[in-house]
């Protein structure tokens, strides 16, 4: 156990260091001063309370998606459909919040519930297709993204488009102020969605560690045959973990609508690449719910930091993407203590005996 933890931390450190070095090379190539640029990035993410709150706001959807991806990984299934689940949930939730009659808190609760169920339902659809027709999840979840994102785009470009303004943008009408998630601090971007996401991370952690359902998920992921032998139903476990996974991705979309944008704007969830950052965060954290919190904050900071960079310097925004891509490359490459040791030993003994 302990050895494994040391290994994970070592691996992370190596990946982040190499990521930073490659980022530095990219900066040198584009003619930017390395140290200053990194300082600017840091300031962009944590420079003052407003920027810090933006980092938290940015990390919120990443965190929720990562938790969903993580739970699926733990159960041994793939959910690469976070983007579609998030978008479909966001558009339905915004429609519910706009058109459902009733007081604000009812709208909010109904929107959240619908969003979770829509996201979860979409991912369960993929799960059902696998159990019924052997369509692999990794493919179906990925491809459903395209269908769903374009469908959402159609919804807000035609039937539900907001036609009140002068410019006809692809977006829904604004949410009633009562049907919004409140901000944590007035004038700041971070909203209650972040707190809920944090709570959910803790809930998932406790669930995996202490409940029999969590145990079944973990064992299904570690050895599906063993779980099946022990009485765990394969299909049930897959569908349940897909429901939670997609539901969490759905919440990411819902909270963006209710807490940040106050309407569904076509492209506003897909352009920042939240879904992919979420997958990255889950990989970085090896699907550990609490570690995912930190990984998501890190990726959120990288994003706001690079925005700051673009505001204050000539360094292109893409630097952050270079760092992210390098990170992911070296995270997935299995660096391990044993690998280092073996290398070291091989070096010593070849000079010693052969």
């Amino acid at each position: 156990m302990r050895n494994e933890q040391i290994q994970t931390i070592l691996q992370l450190t190596i990946a982040i260091t190499i990521g930073a070095v490659v980022g530095a090379i990219a900066m040198i190539v584009s003619g930017a001063p390395v140290i200053t640029t990194y300082i600017q990035m840091w300031n962009g993410a944590f420079g003052n309370f407003y920027l810090f709150s933006s980092t938290l706001a940015n990390a919120t959807p990443i965190l929720l998606i990562a938790l969903g991806v993580g739970i699926a990984f733990r159960a041994g299934v793939f959910n690469l459909g976070g983007e579609g689940q998030m978008v479909l949930a966001a558009v339905t939730a915004s429609l519910v919040a706009i058109y459902l009659p009733g007081p604000g808190f009812v709208k909010v609760l109904a929107a959240i519930t619908t969003g979770f169920l829509v996201g979860g339902g979409l991912s369960m659809l993929a799960g059902w297709m696998e159990s019924r027709f052997q369509i692999q999840l990794i493919i179906s979840t990925l491809l459903l993204n395209y269908i769903v994102v374009l469908f959402a785009s159609y919804l807000v470009s035609f039937p539900f488009q907001d036609r009140t303004g002068s410019a006809a943008l692809s977006q829904t009408a604004m949410l009633d102020p009562a049907a919004r998630l409140p901000k944590l601090f007035t004038g700041m971007t971070v909203h209650w969605g972040f707190v809920i996401a944090l709570l959910l991370a803790v809930v998932l952690y406790v669930m995996l560690k202490h409940t029999s359902f969590g145990y079944d998920i973990m064992m299904s992921g570690k050895n599906a045959s063993f779980a099946f032998y022990g009485g765990v139903s394969k299909t049930k476990m897959m569908l349940h973990s897909m429901l939670i996974s997609g539901g969490l991705a759905g919440l990411a979309g819902v909270f963006e609508v209710l807490g940040s944008q106050y309407r569904f704007v076509d492209g506003s969830l897909t352009d920042p690449g939240y879904a992919w950052s979420g997958i990255m965060a889950a990989l970085l954290a090896k699907s550990h719910p609490l570690a995912i919190v930190f990984a998501s904050l890190f990726l959120g900071a990288l994003h706001t930091g690079s925005l700051g960079l673009e505001r204050n310097t000539d360094v292109p925004l893409e630097i952050a993407n270079v760092i992210k891509a390098t990170l992911i490359l070296f995270i997935t490459a299995k660096f391990s203590i044993t690998w280092w040791q073996r290398r070291k030993k091989a070096g010593v003994s070849t000079s010693g005996t052969v």
């Binding site: 156990m1 494994e4 202490h210 409940t211 029999s212 359902f213 145990y215 079944d216 973990m218 064992m219 570690k222 050895n223 045959s225 063993f226 779980a227 099946f228 032998y229 022990g230 009485g231 765990v232 139903s233 073996r342 030993k345 091989a346 010593v348 003994s349 070849t350 010693g352 005996t353 052969v354």
Partner: protein
């Protein structure tokens, strides 16, 4: 004869634990040297050091008198040392010849010369009188053939010294004999052989010298003609062997019944062909058979892991056909699986987590419904660890750091712990040492005497004969014979196992 390999005062420490402590071991030219000992005695560790998979903490290695230090198997292979692992490492979709020449492929004009590979393999096999078809796909080869492929692979790489780790564990009695002949032939042609095992009969039959390990230390080294099975067993276990406990007479009603069960893919030859059998309360029914003759499918059909095409499985007269695996477990089926790594454990989980399987929904181990109370479960696992002398550092240790025998003991303890009315014990003592085997046999008889029904599947005839009240023989998916405890001789069972008939 000169000394081919010398391991001098070799020590291997894992933390504070001595896996090998000051072991000295030598191997002569053209010698078969057996290393025996219980699980966790340090046999495998010692051989892993010799093969370059582990490095010793202290001590030295000599090959042909020259000091060496291996940090990888490649270096060991260069010095003429080859190893045949317990779990074969073959590519099922490639042919026999392709598997053998892998890494050292004969080529012409820079391309792989398949014809030459086939002829080379043919020649090599013939020179050691091993029958094998080089063009056959490995997935169509029997376990015995696969082992021959592994041996040929090692020989092809030019090994002069061959290490075999538990080579007979997976073989039928007939195949074991073939292997012994091959090993003797290899030795007469100058190869040196190290064989790791805990089967004394085989050791006495083929080895020149025997070294016994216990708790990481050498407890004795003997020439074969100056020792006996009894002495070796005492050296291994550190005490005399126990007798199997007495079997109380039982006259129970039929508890589990399999009626006319057919299993198989549509359109293909069924793997189970109208199989019927009954197990009474307080009875152990042993299923003998060469592995792959439908035993696995029978177990899986009873436990609900595979669907059956027709027929019925009943417990106390009630059909369990429509029930899920979980519901069948609730009804009182527990199951020691034949392949512990595939079905019995999750390698990357801890000892405690692996022990919990099947208990996670039991109220007694939950705080509130759905929340596992590990504190309540822990004493049970601790009891199992004591009862079966399972060697583990802690409950949190990752299970694949335990030796195979200790893992098996945990799986057995877990399934016995359910105290279920029906137990399937498939290869319950595979890979465990004598001490553990005694304990497992004792526990099974105890369960029987308490009135449980047990279906025993084993490829060890001696185990079947020791434990069973009734013996059923399977061949090609059918039950081909049934013998009572008294009429079952090794010959009769062997004949039935090979598809012959016996007139009682």
């Amino acid at each position: 004869m000169s000394e081919r390999i010398l391991m001098k005062n070799v020590t291997k420490k894992y933390g504070d634990f001595y896996a090998n402590n000051e072991i000295t071991f030598s191997l002569q030219d053209a010698e078969i040297h057996a290393i025996i000992g219980e699980n966790g005695a340090g046999k495998t560790t010692l051989m892993r050091i010799l093969y370059g998979l582990e490095e010793q903490t202290s001590g030295s290695l000599y090959v042909n008198g020259k000091p060496v230090r291996f940090s990888s198997p490649t270096e060991a292979i260069k010095r003429g040392i080859g190893m045949v692992h317990q779990h074969f490492m073959l590519f099922p979709h490639l042919t026999v010849a392709e598997n053998i020449v892998i890494g050292h492929e004969p080529s012409s004009a820079g391309l792989f010369n398949r014809k030459k590979a086939v002829s080379q393999v043919k020649e090599l096999a013939a020179s050691y009188k091993m029958t094998i078809d080089p063009t056959k796909k490995v997935k169509h080869c029997s376990v015995g053939e696969q082992q021959r492929i592994e041996i040929l692979k090692v020989l092809y790489q030019g090994a002069e010294t061959i290490i075999l780790d538990e080579p007979t564990a997976v073989l039928t009695p007939h195949e074991v004999k073939g292997l012994m002949d091959t090993l003797k032939l290899l030795a007469t042609s100058g190869k040196s052989i190290i064989i790791i095992t805990h089967k004394l009969k085989e050791v006495m039959a083929c080895a020149n010298r025997i070294t016994v390990l216990r708790n990481g230390e050498v407890t004795g080294s003997r020439h074969v003609d100056e020792t006996s099975e009894d002495e070796l067993a005492t050296l291994m276990v550190g005490r005399d062997l126990k007798e199997v406990p007495p079997r109380a007479a039982q006259n129970g009603a039929t508890h589990l019944e399999v009626k006319n069960v057919v299993v198989g893919e549509k359109g293909e030859k069924p793997t189970l062909h109208h199989v019927s059998l009954q197990v009474k309360q307080g009875e152990i029914v042993g299923i003998a058979g060469v592995s792959g003759n439908g035993q696995s499918e029978l177990i899986q059909a009873i436990t609900g892991l595979i669907p059956i095409e027709s027929g019925d499985v009943t417990m106390d007269g009630e059909s369990v056909n429509e029930l899920t695996v979980y519901e069948r477990r609730q009804k009182g089926i527990s199951h020691i699986p034949e392949d512990r790594y595939q079905w019995g454990i999750a390698k990357s989980a801890s000892v405690a987590e692996n022990a919990l399987m099947g208990y996670q929904y039991i109220d007694a181990y939950q705080s509130v419904r759905g929340v596992i109370n590990r504190r309540r479960f822990r004493p049970l696992v601790t009891k199992w660890i004591e009862q079966f002398a399972i060697k583990t550092n802690s409950l949190q240790q990752q299970i694949d750091q335990l030796s195979g025998g200790n893992i098996q003991k945990l799986v057995v303890a877990r399934e016995l712990g359910h105290e279920s009315s029906f137990l399937i014990a498939a290869e319950p003592t595979r890979g465990v040492d004598i001490g553990a085997m005694e304990r497992i046999h004792e526990a099974l008889i105890e369960r029987r005497n308490e009135g449980a029904s047990i279906l025993l599947v084993s490829s060890e005839l001696s185990e079947i004969r020791t434990l069973s009240d009734r013996i059923v023989v399977m061949f090609e998916g059918k039950i081909v014979g049934e013998l009572s405890r008294d009429e079952a001789t090794e010959e009769k069972i062997s004949i039935l196992m090979a598809g012959g008939t016996v007139h009682a």
